[in-house]
């Protein structure tokens, strides 16, 4: 083995490291370690002068291995790898000794911390001497994107990617795009009509030359990796030819089966053959196979008779499978509203006049069951009570988070009640009012000024007394239990990840945070990236958010998804697992252990003999090391973390300094 010329560069990180670790002592110690030619220190090693120090030494002192003693490699490993490259050294000849997060930040005693820092530095020096230069590889990218979910997040992301000039598939599981935003009446704080601002974007989806909409479809399988995903999409039979149907609606008049109208939150009925709502995109009817008499019982086919001319109805339609090649994926699977039945004390499901916030949206919508009139059981309510935080900030239902929209949608709904019923008594029970967005506090002030009683304290139970509902709460500012009668109780239900998102998450190998929403790669600095390269998050699938934040995040994820498409190539992971073919016994343990399906057994010629060996797909490998842990012959090793390297590090850490 050739002798290495190692340079050790110790960063003070201002006082972050220097106040707990004896820098001078550490520097003299580092200089005594084998093969170390230079040991230096600097206030901020990541600064340009700090990096220049390293570059200069590499050139002048012919260094070929560098140890930077600083913060976590998660932060500055890429920085210093670039430093090495700019000085003509292979970027993988670098080792970071983390003496900040793993030493100075967690210790108080300077003596102890300095001693530990010595162990960490000795280990890094030992390891860097064993590192080999590595070559970075690239793969080409399919210049197409897929967006999953056709709510406002998916719509915005798809439009932005398509506008950047790339072909985009938009997958929506429902018969129409639009999502929950389409169900809202007005939006806070501007009181725009929700459908009015959404439908132009839905039309854009339909008319965009770069967008192919696959509605009533679900992602069934995803194979491959960033730049080269192979996606299988299941297209559910619509029983209506989407391309032919002109949405005239004659057929529905002949359909006698009434079903629950989910767009109206079950508050009205429509036909088994229906269009979800008038502005639906695709503008085509759909047959509910669970309810259609012909599909259930084998007789009827009334609808086909009336559509003879166009012949758009095809009750023999079968499910289809479509294969798509895409380079990047945006996940925008949205949310489900909290099931208010899980808070039985609030009377939902027991009393007809206890409704959810989403149901309220439909009740007051001009396209809703009452054509916009606020009627409960045919009567105008005189007393309306809103209850906040239903299914949010609530450990008992497993939703510890604030849903971030309920305070404001309740304020907006109170305003709508006031608009429609000038004499109604309106009470809002709240714990804290969170009006954090632009124009939100002002809107809250405005609503309070409309004779809306905000009472601090949340409702503990709703029960019936005569023909009124009684909401029992403590007014915590008075310190007294109070009972407020109501003709209508609106529960400000929170939001949780869409039920179908879990399955998609498995296919895409996405992690979730403890709140069950998809986990971003970094909460601050990589908010739309995920642990799976080439997969990005938009909207409520990542966490509760309002429409402005959703749209902003959707555009962000579109910009991110476009980067590999625009570059046409992506770098692959360098520190991948490698197999020593002769030592491999083809037991297959590594194949089972790999969470990324990156390893398979293949027949290969080894030393003139054909045998089965484990083969790593270097593009899929994420360098997690799971395979090396289960390999009992030591044949599979992770580059940069081989058994020899790790054992040497352990040996170095174990010594006393």
């Amino acid at each position: 083995m050739s002798t290495k010329r190692i340079g050790v560069y110790i960063c003070h990180c201002g006082v972050n490291i220097a106040q707990t670790v004896g820098i001078e002592e550490l520097k003299s110690f580092a200089a005594t370690l084998p093969q170390v030619k230079v040991a230096e220190n600097y206030m901020y090693m990541c600064s340009e002068p700090g990096q220049e120090l390293i570059r200069k030494d590499i050139k002048e002192k012919k260094l070929n291995r560098i140890v930077v003693v600083a913060c976590s490699p998660r932060l500055h490993e890429p920085t210093f790898r670039n430093t090495l490259v700019s000085a003509g050294l292979n970027p993988y000849c670098l080792e970071i000794a983390n003496v900040r997060e793993q030493c100075s930040w967690v210790h108080k005693d300077k003596k102890v911390a300095t001693s530990k820092a010595k162990s960490v530095v000795a280990a890094a020096v030992t390891k860097v001497a064993l590192l080999e230069p590595l070559e970075e590889k690239e793969v080409s990218v399919t210049k197409t994107a897929m967006v999953v979910g056709g709510g406002i997040a998916g719509i915005q992301a798809a439009l932005d990617i398509a506008d950047s000039g790339f072909k985009t598939y938009l997958i929506e599981k429902e018969p129409s795009i639009g999502g929950h935003m389409m169900q809202l009446d007005k939006t806070f704080p501007t009181l725009d009509c929700s459908a009015c601002i959404l439908t132009p974007k839905m039309s854009d989806i339909k008319n965009h030359p770069n967008i192919e909409l696959l509605a009533y479809s679900e992602v069934a399988d995803v194979k491959g990796f960033v730049g080269n995903f192979k996606v299988t999409v299941k297209r559910k039979p619509r029983y209506i030819e989407e391309a032919i149907c002109n949405a005239c609606g004659t057929c529905a008049k002949y359909c006698s089966i009434a079903i629950i109208d989910r767009y109206n939150e079950g508050l009205s009925k429509l036909q088994a053959l229906h269009i979800p709502f008038p502005q639906a995109i695709p503008a085509a009817y759909v047959v509910d196979p669970e309810e259609c008499r012909y599909l259930k019982e084998g007789t009827c086919r009334q609808c086909e008779q009336v559509c003879k001319e166009l012949n758009a109805i095809n009750l023999d339609m079968q499910e289809e499978s479509v294969e798509l090649d895409v380079g990047t994926i945006v996940v925008a699977t949205g949310f489900d509203v909290f099931d208010a039945n899980r808070k039985p004390e609030l009377g939902y499901g027991r009393y007809e006049n206890v409704i959810t916030g989403m149901e309220f949206e439909r009740v007051v919508s001009a396209a809703g069951p009452n054509q916009g009139e606020l009627l409960i059981n045919g009567k105008k309510p005189k007393e309306v009570v809103f209850i906040q935080c239903v299914g949010s900030r609530d450990k008992t239902v497993g939703n510890e988070y604030c849903s971030r929209v309920c305070c404001m949608y309740t304020a907006k709904q109170a305003h709508l009640v006031r608009e429609k019923l000038p004499d109604a008594k309106i009470t809002i029970f709240y714990i804290d009012v969170r009006a954090f967005g632009k124009g939100y506090e002002e809107f809250y002030d405005r609503v309070k000024g409309e004779s809306v009683y905000y009472r601090r304290g949340n409702v503990s139970e709703v029960y019936k007394k005569g023909d009124k509902l009684i909401c029992r709460a403590e007014d915590t500012l008075l310190g007294k239990p109070i009972e407020v009668p109501a003709d209508l109780v609106v529960l400000a239900v929170g939001i949780q990840p869409s039920a179908g998102a879990r399955e998609l998450g498995k296919l895409l190998k996405l992690s979730t945070s403890p709140d069950n929403f998809f986990l971003e790669a970094h909460p601050k600095l990589r908010p739309v990236d995920t642990g799976s390269d080439g997969v990005f998050l938009a909207g409520c699938c990542q966490g509760p958010k309002d429409i402005p934040d959703t749209v902003a995040q959707a555009s962000a994820s579109a910009a991110k998804a476009v980067i590999p498409l625009a570059q046409g190539k992506v770098k692959t992971e360098t520190m991948v697992a490698r197999v020593h073919e002769q030592a491999c016994r083809a037991c297959g343990y590594c194949v089972e252990a790999c969470p990324y399906d990156a390893i398979e057994l293949q027949l290969q010629e080894v030393n003139g003999r054909e045998k089965s060996v484990a083969v790593v797909n270097e593009v899929l490998c994420k360098s997690c090391g799971a395979c090396t842990g289960v390999c009992f012959s030591g044949a599979i090793q992770q580059t940069g973390f081989t058994d020899d390297q790790i054992l040497a590090v352990i040996g170095a850490i174990g010594k006393e300094y």
Partner: protein
């Protein structure tokens, strides 16, 4: 420093730092249900007080502490999993330790240490409920019936204990009883704040129950005994079941078949210690609805929303001096409005409090209060 730290640990254990002062506890508290001209029992401010001042001070100031029925509605409703009812029990412990107790509670605690029951009656009286019955001793059968102090000592409740025995026999169950050797479970004692006597009872009972290797399942009549055995007796070997679960199982398996018609309109009052605290809502209903001829109707306030009868938390022995209406009266009035013949209960305390209310309201000719076992014994 040390003291401050220990105080933090204590508050942390009760989860008090997590309180967001939403008031759901106070609003749900049944003691506040009828509070026209009285200072409310404000458990939210109590939590806040304990968070900010030494518990010893609070305990001596708050005379309303003895009103709490430990029904646990506050804990159930709390979105942050704070345990407000435990705060009350903790404060009561301080009063027990200091000996500043209402006389009736002092008598209960004395009776526990002398007689191993809270009712101030001699141990030998425990034999009265099974007079004339030929029953096996615990340990001679895999199933054991734990009767509990109140059904054993209260004359009205002997019928409940004997009905339970009759139903077990009708189902052909091989079971035993502890008879005169049975001692108090300690559930109410713990809730009165005497954690020391509770520990002694728990140790004694655990030793006895675990001592019989034959016993596989203990069937409890009172949800209060059931609650403490199930949740507060770590290391107890036999399975503990409330009789409603036990008979619901026998009926579902077909081992027990109610045969006779009981042509009555019946509603069911959920006991807090069975429902709110142990989530057993369906079993009692499934027993009632399996009885032929019986018309079952729900109270408007049922299951999680059931109204406490005020019999728990030691309240059987606490005189509340104000003139406010008892919750049991509200329950009875609702039942009369519904036009039912029977309020079915599954708890000895509920049986006594509701029956008292029926008597006090002079409604005995209109309405009966019966335990599910008493109804099932007729079926």
């Amino acid at each position: 420093m040390e003291e401050a730290y220990e105080r933090c640990v204590y508050l942390e254990r009760l989860g008090l730092f997590g309180c967001i002062q939403c008031g759901k506890c106070t609003a749900g508290c049944p003691i506040n249900y009828v509070t026209p001209d009285r200072e409310p029992f404000n458990i939210r401010t109590l939590v806040y007080d304990v968070l900010n001042a030494p518990s010893e001070e609070i305990a001596s100031e708050k005379h309303f502490l003895w009103q709490c029925t430990t029904c646990a509605t506050c804990s159930l409703r709390c979105p942050k999993e704070v345990e407000p009812k435990d705060v009350v029990m903790n404060l009561r412990s301080i009063l027990v330790e200091d000996g500043t107790l209402p006389p009736s509670i002092r008598d209960v605690l004395k009776s526990i240490s002398v007689n191993y029951n809270p009712w101030g009656l001699g141990k030998e009286k425990r034999a009265e409920w099974f007079k004339g019955l030929e029953l096996k001793d615990a340990g001679e059968a895999e199933t054991c019936l734990y009767v509990g102090c109140t059904p054993a000592f209260d004359n009205r409740l002997h019928k409940l204990a004997r009905s339970t025995v009759a139903c077990l026999q009708k189902a052909g169950i091989d079971f035993g009883i502890f008879g005169i050797e049975e001692i108090c479970c300690g559930n109410e004692i713990k809730r009165l704040g005497d954690i020391w006597s509770f520990d002694a009872l728990r140790e004694a009972n655990t030793e006895v129950f675990n001592g019989y290797e034959t016993i596989k399942e203990i069937v409890s009549i009172s949800p209060h005994c059931f609650n403490t055995f199930k949740n507060e007796y770590p290391g107890l070997t036999p399975r503990v079941t409330h009789y409603t679960e036990y008979f619901a199982r026998l009926i579902a398996e077909g081992t027990f078949k109610p045969k006779k018609k009981v042509s009555k309109k019946v509603t069911y009052h959920d006991p807090c210690f069975l429902g709110k605290q142990n989530d057993i809502y369906d079993a009692p209903r499934s027993i009632l609805t399996s009885i032929k001829g019986l018309i079952f109707e729900e109270f408007d306030r049922n299951r999680e929303n059931s109204l406490c009868c005020e019999g728990g938390g030691g309240r059987m022995w606490i005189e509340i001096e104000d003139a406010r209406e008892r919750l049991a009266n509200i329950r009875v009035r609702d039942a009369v409005d519904m036009g039912v013949d029977i309020i079915a209960v599954a708890c000895p305390f509920c049986l006594l409090t509701l029956e008292d209310a029926v008597k006090a309201m002079d409604l005995e000719d209109k309405l009966q209060v019966l335990d599910i076992m008493e109804i099932l014994a007729q079926a």
